[in-house]
Assembly symmetry: C3
Homo-oligomer: 142 residues x 3
Amino acid sequence: MIVWQHELQLTAKSRGFHLITNEIDDALRHAPSVSVGLLHILVKHTSASVTLNENADPAVRRDFERYFQTLAPDTDRSAPYEHTYEGLDDLPAHFKASLLGSNLTLPVTGGRLNLGTWQGVYLGEHRTRASGRQLVLTLQGQ
Amino acid sequence: MIVWQHELQLTAKSRGFHLITNEIDDALRHAPSVSVGLLHILVKHTSASVTLNENADPAVRRDFERYFQTLAPDTDRSAPYEHTYEGLDDLPAHFKASLLGSNLTLPVTGGRLNLGTWQGVYLGEHRTRASGRQLVLTLQGQ
Amino acid sequence: MIVWQHELQLTAKSRGFHLITNEIDDALRHAPSVSVGLLHILVKHTSASVTLNENADPAVRRDFERYFQTLAPDTDRSAPYEHTYEGLDDLPAHFKASLLGSNLTLPVTGGRLNLGTWQGVYLGEHRTRASGRQLVLTLQGQ
């Protein structure tokens, strides 16, 4: 049985959705190879998210950003929120972290992520200005 | 330690939410029995989802479809989206896949899913016309 | 390899979001210690949720309750829902359980949850009157 854990520091990204499948794949190359198992990803922040979605057309990621800005807008709410001292983008960033999730578990087969053809891992950066985000990767399998 | 993986092909389903607990249970019957462990489910598509919810009243599944159509409508948006060449139901299907999630991890006890009395596994089919969806099941335990 | 499972009964909570990181930590203290692994949490109900979010300012939890009441309101919908015989708060509670998720997987390092500084585990209680909720905790690691 293999259990492997690694903390992965991502570079700072602009607000929006970013494909990070390559960064995950690269980290996995340094792990012991498992023929069958699971990879768990945690983003150690409350204003960013990880989710699986379409990996081909960049327009999908732009549409994601617009959609989630509408679903949890920074401003112009009839009922103002309490937690605003970290900036207007902070509280909606928390909502998005919970709507989209800050953890993701993926199957591994033959030492590689076993995803659908069109699936990629998105990092959702929900703050207007953020530094690089920290991930915890945990691999279990045999 | 048992690690088992299986790809499960579901039949094509109409747009909406469908209970697939029985299909999961059936697949689990062909796995080595684990007394305690976890079953992970991935739907290998970016326009379908898996989630746990109420397993008794079919009206809940109908209400889910109506609610999520309102939350991420196919049409009538003031700000039109970019990614539309696969049909108007495609982009909202991507949003729903990420809002609801395309992976699910469930506890296994005595070789069976250990869920609450009223919990069942929903497949969310978010395309108007889709063929059968492919799942990856991964079981780990002992 | 360690595989450990425990059912944890939470006390009844008011409608809203509640930090339960301490309850999870306490339960983990009774588990065999794993140097590296994963803890999985399932809430065995379809009208409550578990999610990771900000652990410091109680205003965030109050803002969560208001935001999710707006996103899935109990009343005042132009299109009334079918499943209402358990009360008007029941169906939106189901929606929230699936939007926020009823299961959560967290990394464990050195026998402890390995979360970000500001991350805590929220229980979302989405019914106006509910009794205590039951969790299944499953720990795997070595």
